[in-house]
């Protein structure tokens, strides 16, 4: 048996090891006298601290020091001690408690791209530590790193409620998660299901209006637990399912599917030259059920030939003196298509080509039905210019204004010209974002616009 004095001293110094602490506990439980001896030591320790604080603070205050510095001890009444002790409460409370500040955070806002936040109750600057609360992302991409190791990329528009390092709740939008071994069991709750991860990369999308949940496994294995019963569906790499209202959908391998979130409309703004609207526009790469009547879709699928989408725009320049074109600019108004995951497409470069040679007189209603890119008739093309849309950005005005474009228009043998818009950047994995820009049928956004400046006819 260790000397109890040593155990008590060790306790006061916070230097006991586990065995000694257990020994002390046993000794304290043995009888009341031991507990009295221990309590008295703890009490005396606190009295030493109180007195030391008083002494140090007195010696710090010189004027006070002179009156108390007498060699004989001052005898305080019990009442004055109570006042003194009350003051110490404040001092000690400050000294004792803040040594262990409560750190309630469990995640870091690691990186944001092109973001716009709506009011939430968490900090939204890069690098912020996050505790329980809600993030509302209006635009862009935000990466969250949970202390468990889980990484979640939030794609706008989205609302995520952070619960702890292993749990969060997605009430709208898309979350793409990367789950290392340390975070196996990471759970994303949605209004209609719980998606539990078993070490993988997966995406969950929640439709704001209906609360329906789409889950897609990019790699690995997840379990989708239906919120209203014990039913569970397991998804493996490449599989997906949908939970809508009363139905827990089965796992499917339909890789053509893309997550639908919600479309956002933008306000336009045009330049001041002669503006031409297309006489026809269309895109190829028709995928059943994932099309748009108002947007021209552009995508470079990881499989290249299948799933890629290319847009074509036809202008008629007969109102323009083609020879006199000095400057030309093509304006495209991008808008979210609601299809695919922005996380799977890095900064994307788009190229605009002019069709030369034997250009067939393509018909937009027919072109729309073409499943494979390359139509119409694979005529020769000439590169006119490129632009880049940063990852996470899904809308805005983008333009090509090059001498190559002006020259193409000037030298084109006929007034009917055809342009082709291609996304050069390939998605990182199947299910990537489909970009889209307003067609001439878009109800709000301007159509693809050719802005031309011709030199003065009088010259």
């Amino acid at each position: 048996m260790t000397d109890p004095e040593k155990l008590i001293a060790g306790w006061l110094d916070v230097s006991l090891n586990e065995a000694e602490q257990a020994e002390l506990d046993e000794w304290l439980k043995a009888n009341d006298e031991n507990m009295r001896r221990f309590t008295d030591a703890a009490m005396f320790e606190q009295q030493i601290q109180s007195a030391t604080i008083a002494v140090e603070e007195q010696s710090a205050a010189a004027s006070f020091n002179a009156s108390v510095g007498a060699a004989t001890p001052r005898v305080f009444s019990r009442r004055s001690f109570a006042v003194f002790a009350a003051t110490l409460v404040v001092i000690l409370a400050l000294v004792l408690l803040p040594q262990h500040p409560a750190d309630e955070t469990f995640a870091t806002l690691d990186q944001t791209r092109a973001v716009l936040w709506e009011s939430g109750d968490l900090p939204t600057t890069d690098g912020s530590r996050l505790e329980q609360g809600t993030l509302r992302l209006a635009e862009g991409l935000a990466t969250l790193k949970f202390d468990s190791g889980a990484e979640v990329v939030l794609e706008a528009p989205a609302t995520l409620i952070l619960i702890d390092a292993m749990n969060c709740e997605l009430t709208r939008g898309t979350a793409v998660s990367d789950i290392p071994e340390s975070a196996v069991g990471f759970r994303i709750k949605t209004p209609s299901a719980d998606v539990v991860d078993y070490g993988t990369r997966f995406a969950v999308s929640v439709h704001e209006g209906t609360g329906e949940t789409h889950t897609q496994v990019i790699e690995g294995r997840v379990q989708v637990e239906y919120a209203r019963s014990d039913e569970v569906v397991e998804l493996k790499t490449g599989q997906r399912n949908t939970v809508i209202g009363e139905t827990l959908g089965a796992a499917t391998d339909d890789a053509e599917h893309e997550h639908q979130t919600v479309a956002v409309k933008t306000i336009d703004h045009g330049p001041g030259w002669t503006l031409l609207e297309p006489v026809k526009d269309a895109y190829t790469g028709n995928v059943n059920g994932h099309n748009s009547d108002i947007l021209l879709l552009v995508k470079m699928d990881i499989r290249r030939s299948r799933g890629s989408r290319t847009s074509y725009i036809g202008f008629d320049l007969n109102s323009i003196d083609q020879d006199r074109i000095q400057e030309a600019e093509l304006l495209l108004y991008f808008a979210p298509t609601g299809w695919g995951l922005a996380s799977l497409v890095p900064d994307a470069t788009f190229s605009v080509y002019g069709m030369v040679g034997e250009v067939p007189d393509w018909d937009e209603s027919i072109l729309h039905k073409v499943r494979f890119p390359g139509a119409p008739g694979n005529p020769d093309v000439v590169h006119l210019g490129s632009f880049t849309i940063p990852q996470g950005v899904q809308k805005g005005r983008f333009r090509v204004r090059t001498e190559a474009l002006s020259e193409f228009l000037r030298k084109h043998p006929s007034s009917e010209i055809s342009l082709k818009v291609v996304r050069d950047t390939v998605e990182l994995d199947s299910g990537g974002l489909v970009h889209g820009f307003a067609s001439r049928r878009h109800p709000v956004l301007p159509p693809p616009t050719l802005a031309l400046r011709t030199d003065d006819e009088s010259r």
Binding site: V14, V75, A85, L92
Partner: protein
């Protein structure tokens, strides 16, 4: 963790509030309870153990309530006894109780090892206790 300590402490204090009377320095007692819990939680946290011996805590607070009235007079003399300590001991007391350094941190400041500082501090506690008791006896003997 601070929240936890406060919550636990207020619970214990509320439970034992009826023990409070004017003769007992309630505030000091409350602080003693808080300190006990802070230290216990520290120990538990250090060992990644969540268990907390509530039986011991209850007995500790009861014993503290029982002993506090008789012990409060010591406070009256402690300041004087601390001021009488030798310079090095006084410095150690300041570092330990005012600056709240650990034995190892004190050793780094004044030289030596943490273990040596702990031994010295234990000797100082004993010295202060003897000093206070001597003065209490003198107090009792005086008319």
């Amino acid at each position: 963790m601070a929240d936890e300590v406060l919550q636990e402490t207020s619970l214990v204090l509320f439970r034992r509030f009826d023990e409070y009377d004017e003769q007992r320095p309630f505030v000091a007692w409350a602080l003693g309870v808080a300190r006990f819990q802070v230290l216990s939680l520290n120990r538990d946290a250090a060992r990644s153990r969540v268990a907390f011996d509530t039986e011991l805590l209850v007995r500790f607070t009861e014993t503290w309530g029982e002993l506090a009235p008789g012990a409060s007079d010591r406070s009256l003399f402690l300041q004087d006894c601390i001021q009488r300590l030798a310079a090095r001991a006084r410095q150690m007391v300041r570092l330990r109780y005012y600056d709240e350094l650990t034995a190892e941190e004190i050793a780094r400041q004044i030289g030596g090892t943490g273990a040596a500082v702990r031994v010295a501090l234990q000797r100082i506690r004993q010295q202060l206790r003897e000093c206070v008791e001597r003065q209490l006896r003198a107090e009792g003997e005086s008319p």
